[in-house]
């Protein structure tokens, strides 16, 4: 989508850039208004970011003067078992929750798309968790997952033993992923629905004439029609899922035995310990990782578009 636009506008862009000052003069008021958010951005985002970068080379604790220690923070993080574990947990969360979330949302969208009645009822119902704060969702699911919670009651009535949904090391992360998928699927579903309804009906008719059945027309008509949407949801979802924090803070606190500790959670823990230099280094490594992932994604998608 975005690829088409920039490709089409490219020749016009160059002369425009030269006239940037003329344009500023033309609409001074507008730029004056823009100036305020720009100043705020510089003051509250860019300067602290730069400051954090400098601090990542120190042993700063927020209270005492910082001492320059070179790249010690970075080498310590790279050698730290805990960091590697948190990285693995983060990737596990991101991959499973993204793939699972898209799959569930697509199934839901396909099902709802076919409905002639009650469509908006289902849309609204599945969208409610999206507008519910994650903390509230997490608290509700914590109750569901409790030792004497709803889920254990349900499986108990079929004769199964209670499961430690949030206290079993092997299960806890997946419990959190299920909650996250449940919270986010409404959003992806709505986006998928909009895309589905945009696919022209005549393509399906043509496929039918060519003898394609339900699944074949899904593969050859629906999926290609959803390509842009999938790309959008992927880019949007990756950064969001790498930043996972709320549900882990509320539901497990990183436990049991650090099995749900993600990178952002580790940044938080080290902040509590007032290891602000170390935390800054951790944040920059994390930022760098996200940058690489975004670049790869951008390259892949841009290439496909061409």
């Amino acid at each position: 989508m975005s690829g088409h636009l920039t490709a089409g506008q490219e020749p016009k862009l160059l002369p425009r850039r030269r006239n940037i000052l003329k344009e500023i003069r033309k609409s001074k008021e507008a730029y004056a208004f823009v100036l305020i958010p720009v100043i705020l951005l510089i003051l509250f985002s860019l300067i602290p970011m730069l400051y954090g970068f400098l601090m990542s080379f120190t042993n700063w604790n927020g209270l005492q003067p910082a001492k320059f220690i070179g790249i010690e923070n970075y080498t310590r993080i790279m050698q730290s078992q805990e960091f590697h574990k948190a990285l693995r947990n983060t990737v596990k969360f991101a991959v499973v929750s993204l793939a699972g979330g898209m799959f569930v949302a697509l199934i839901l969208a396909l099902a709802i798309d076919k409905l002639s009645r009650l469509q908006s009822f289902f849309k609204v119902t599945y969208f409610i968790p999206v507008i519910t704060p994650m903390v509230v969702v997490s608290l509700v699911w914590t109750l569901i997952y409790n030792e004497k919670g709803l889920l254990n009651y349900l499986i108990g009535s079929f004769g199964f033993d209670a499961v430690g949904w949030l206290t079993d090391k092997k299960i806890a992360m997946y419990s959190i992923i299920v909650t996250s998928i449940w919270q986010g699927m409404g959003f992806s579903m709505i986006v998928f629905l909009a895309a589905l309804q945009k696919i022209p009906e005549h393509l399906y008719e043509a496929a039918k004439i060519d003898g394609a059945g339900g699944f074949k027309s899904f593969l050859n008509v629906t999926l290609p029609g959803l390509k842009d949407t999938l790309a959008f949801l992927l880019i949007y979802g990756v950064i969001g899922s790498f930043n996972v924090f709320d549900q882990i803070y509320v539901m497990t606190g990183g436990g049991p035995v650090k099995s749900t500790e993600t990178i952002v959670f580790q940044i938080f823990t080290n902040f509590r310990y007032l290891k602000l230099g170390y935390t800054s280094a951790l944040s920059y490594i994390f930022l760098f990782m996200l940058l690489i992932i975004s670049l790869i994604q951008f390259k892949l998608i841009y290439k496909k578009e061409e």
Binding site: I39, G62, E147, V257
Partner: protein, 444 residues
Amino acid sequence: MKHKRKMSAMLSSLLLSIVVLSGCSGSGSEANGNQPAKEGQEDSGKQVTITIWDNYGATTPIKPLIPKFEEEFPNIKVDFQEQPWDNFWDKMAAAASGGETPDIATTGLMWNPKYTVFGLFADLNALSGGKINGEDINSVYSEGMIKAATTDQGLFGIPYDFDSYSLYYRSDLLEEAGVTAPPANWDELVEVGKKLTKDVDGDGKTDQYAFLVMPDWYHYEPFLYANGGKVLSDDFKQAAFNSPEGVEALQFYADLVNKHKIGVNWTPDRGSYVAGLKDGTIAMFQDGPYVMGLIKNSNPEQEGKWKITDAMSNKQYGTHIGGTYLSIFEKSKHKEEAWKFIEFLSREENAIQIYKTSGAAPGYLPALESPEVNSPDPFFGNEVPMNVFKAAVEKGTPNPVVSSWQEISQAISDAVAKAVMNEATPQEALDEAAEQVNEILAQE
């Protein structure tokens, strides 16, 4: 070229305006900050406001005493700010690094050493001259409590309430099972435990356990001390909890759940263990005096069923010491007034309120002798439970005073959880934790 120059002129004016703006805001706040201090210095008879951060929650003994204090000291106003227990130290970290601290706070041993080393708290020895309400500080508080709050930088808190573990037990359940005395050592715990662990409703699952096993360091620590173990070496430079004594203690602690099956592993998804006390899941547990208030409040129907005795010994008697302290911040502009408030709260008649209002144990030891505290309690079988805790705080071991205690205790908690959940042998779990702890200590 022309455009470029204009561009750079614009950029530099932008930068300039930022500098001016940030400069303004900086000097503005400074001026604001200085004013009240100047007033205070000019005339000490003028009104002064001290801010206190309190994490006691609903049953705080501090808040109800404020009107009395303000009446006695009309020139001091107390701004009481209730703080949540759960993220008290997150707020503290933010406040400390932002430089916006209150005058007094209720603090604890978990984080205090770190902040003291960083210079957040004032040295109360210097401020008080070693005396509180005219009495020698060392004579009215437990030696361990004072030792636990003392670093090279001085004394960073006055004990407000204390926490040391003793054994709570359901005397009615013991009697029912034909047990005449509560277990005094580990062997007796296993023996008594087998009689107390039962399937009461007959559905094939145990629903009454003899002992509460919390997978965390503070419930494990009394076992470590009772077995002659130590957390850190005497110079606080090396981990010592993975010694044979420590491993044996953790083995026993985990065996209560995995081998003897008389202990219930109270995982977080079960909620507060007070629920387990109420519904009879737990017959015995070791915890601090503040639990007396919790049981009384939530389980009034259990009056007369609970009793309290010394924590169990193995090679020796052992329990740890903790508690709430009152600390004054180094940045406070009203340290004298803040100290007056701490002295006021530490007077015997006010320290008693810690027991009366929140059911905890006053750190000011003479208060334990007062008839209001030291009297038979019908809830605890007409015995005097506070005497048990008083003995515990006098004999107990304070935690190591190291600035990264929070991280160290977390590593030990993880090891305890691993062993109790049978994911690693106690030796493996503790060795791994010791490696982490040694690394942390090397950076102190």
